[in-house]
Symmetry: C2
């Protein structure tokens, strides 16, 4: 078992990473003094419920907890106001009170949704993450929780740190290949922004990571979580440093929006976005070979690095435009200087970005 400590003063919490942890969920809640007087709500999705909900429920019940469950549809559309309201209804009907706890059992979608429920139910109750996707190593660190507004993603939310994170690697065995690879995009991102050695480690262990070798995956997730934890603990509220976690995300979000959510999934979109960032980096005087190395890493992890021709450049530029600064001709980008080193550049030129989006469509 590996443990990563997220240092946030009185809001600090541990991430437990290991195999077959869900069976012991009840013990972990016990050790963290979760109240047995008040019902616990497990939020999960239809794909995750089938193999894992019973395991968690049984473990909790055996430890003497009263369990209420809410199973939502799989996918991004569950981060909506209406699903949020439904889960709130379950919480109320299940008799949750201010001493209750919400458990997110699932990927990033369930984590974000359940986290916002926990953060706003009776003005905030306790929260536990039990991530089941690779991507969730990212979303379960840092306390950002949110749902989407129909006009913009992650628009409605709060900062709400969990009591602890219980990361059962065994669950990753049922995660679809495409989702595994997408999650690896965020893993290697943590190397690209902070730790050259780890970025290269991801490249070297790409095959074991893709096939979910428990030891290798365990180390990768520990390292990914640790890097995110360091960044977050230095800037919990995203005043400055934390922005580097958005490497590849400005272009990535625009790609997701224009492709239609779900067509190109988040990890894939930011994979292409990180190549875009590398292109910007090279053109702003970054280390030669930056783009090639970045592409090599992402390709090894089974990720796309080329923007499909059919996605209109103007629409992608437009999707980035809701950033007001961009309308004045330049915007903020996380720009790589070399593998493992990025800078926050507040003055990246519109025309440069447009050129880069065009270049992203060129087959390599």
């Amino acid at each position: 078992m590996r443990t990563v400590d997220v240092q946030l003063g009185e809001r600090s919490y541990p991430i437990y990473i290991g195999e077959d942890l869900l069976q012991q969920a009840g013990n972990y809640l016990d050790n963290h003094h979760i109240s047995k007087q008040s019902p616990v709500l497990i939020v999960t999705d239809e794909h995750v419920a089938d193999p894992y909900l019973n395991i968690v429920e049984q473990s909790l019940t055996a430890s003497g907890f009263t369990v209420v469950t809410a199973i939502v549809g799989a996918g991004e559309q569950s981060k909506s106001m209406s699903v949020f309201e439904e889960v709130m209804t379950k919480a109320i009907q299940g008799g949750l009170d201010r001493k209750s706890t919400v458990i997110a059992l699932g990927g990033g979608v369930v984590g974000d949704l359940a986290g916002f429920v926990a953060g706003s139910y009776m003005r905030g109750i306790r929260f536990i993450q039990m991530p089941t996707s690779v991507l969730a190593h990212d979303s379960s660190v840092g306390g950002k929780v949110a749902i989407n507004h129909r006009l913009a993603k992650n628009m409605i939310g709060v900062f709400h740190q969990p009591e602890f994170v219980l990361y059962d690697l065994t669950t990753l065995q049922t995660l679809p290949k495409r989702e595994i690879n997408a999650g690896l995009a965020e893993m290697v991102k943590h190397g690209l922004i902070w730790d050259k050695e780890f970025a290269y480690w991801c490249l070297e262990h790409a095959e074991e990571l893709k096939s979910v070798d428990m030891t290798v995956m365990g180390y990768g997730l520990e390292k990914g979580c640790s890097i995110k934890a360091i960044v977050v603990s230095r800037d919990e509220r995203e005043n400055d440093l934390r922005a580097i976690l958005n490497l590849g995300h400005t272009i990535g979000h625009a790609i997701e929006a224009v492709a239609g959510y779900g067509e190109i999934i988040h990890g894939e979109a930011i994979s292409i976005g990180m190549v875009g960032s590398a292109l910007i980096g090279e053109q702003l005087g970054g280390e030669p070979g930056l783009v090639d190395t970045t592409r090599r890493m992402l390709t090894a992890l089974g990720l796309p690095t080329v923007l499909p021709e059919r996605l209109d450049t103007d629409r992608i530029m437009e999707a980035m435009m809701h950033d007001k600064k961009f309308q004045e001709g330049s915007m903020t980008f996380i720009v790589p200087k070399s593998i493992g080193v990025v800078e926050i550049n507040h003055n990246v030129d519109y025309d440069l970005v447009r050129r880069v989006v065009e270049q992203l469509k060129e087959e390599v």
Copy 2:
């Protein structure tokens, strides 16, 4: 101009109370370093917009702020998920960003709604309260913001402290009589839980309060805000002490729910509820005359102290039942011992409460 300081460490903020303050709104924002680069959203309701929105908007525009407005329907039904979503839409369409500020211009409904928008827009942006009702002296202190779930009031929200509160007494001149009196219920409540002298002061100045004499009202609101500020600063997150602010509210909320929201308004319901609490207090050995004095104070302030016969006792008891503790035969009540002194009693008996609800129906 009077100023009350709400002491909450780095979340401390001032409440400015005085006449004709809205005309100077722009200066106040300036003094508090509110960003002019990012749009400011004013949330208000249809009754308040007409006389006051222009004044605030002009003052802000004159000071160089970009203003976006959202006018919601008047009344409790605006604290709903759907109105919340509409205000979020205005915020997004108006281009609000993380440096933006939300202003609540109105009574407690607008304060709670706009506060939750501010608390959850992009995971929390700045917030300013400009209360226009007497009751809002209560709701604008303490940072509790929330909307209602169709199954329960104030269920969805967060703690989100404002940058400052600008309380323009002049606006109270257009507040309907019934709303003035309802707000005075919370004012005298602050005396009843904490400050005997202030409770008697409210009784002695009942006529000036009801007719909104500026000097008297200014003092009353200052005092009411100060007491609430002291309680909140000792227990921001309602772990214990803060519960005393709920004097009369357990029975009060049940009355509101059973009568149908709006039939008996909040201040009226808690007025009856506070008589109920006094009845409980007397029966648990409190100061003799507690009930009479409480009734005298509330009657002087134009508030009801008798429960309408048509409200079924069983339904009122049932409405209190969602409190799990009650199901086991007893529950937590704020119980007066004498005027100005209350205790938190975790073991008030079901049968006693039921008897008191019956007694509340007896004409006096």
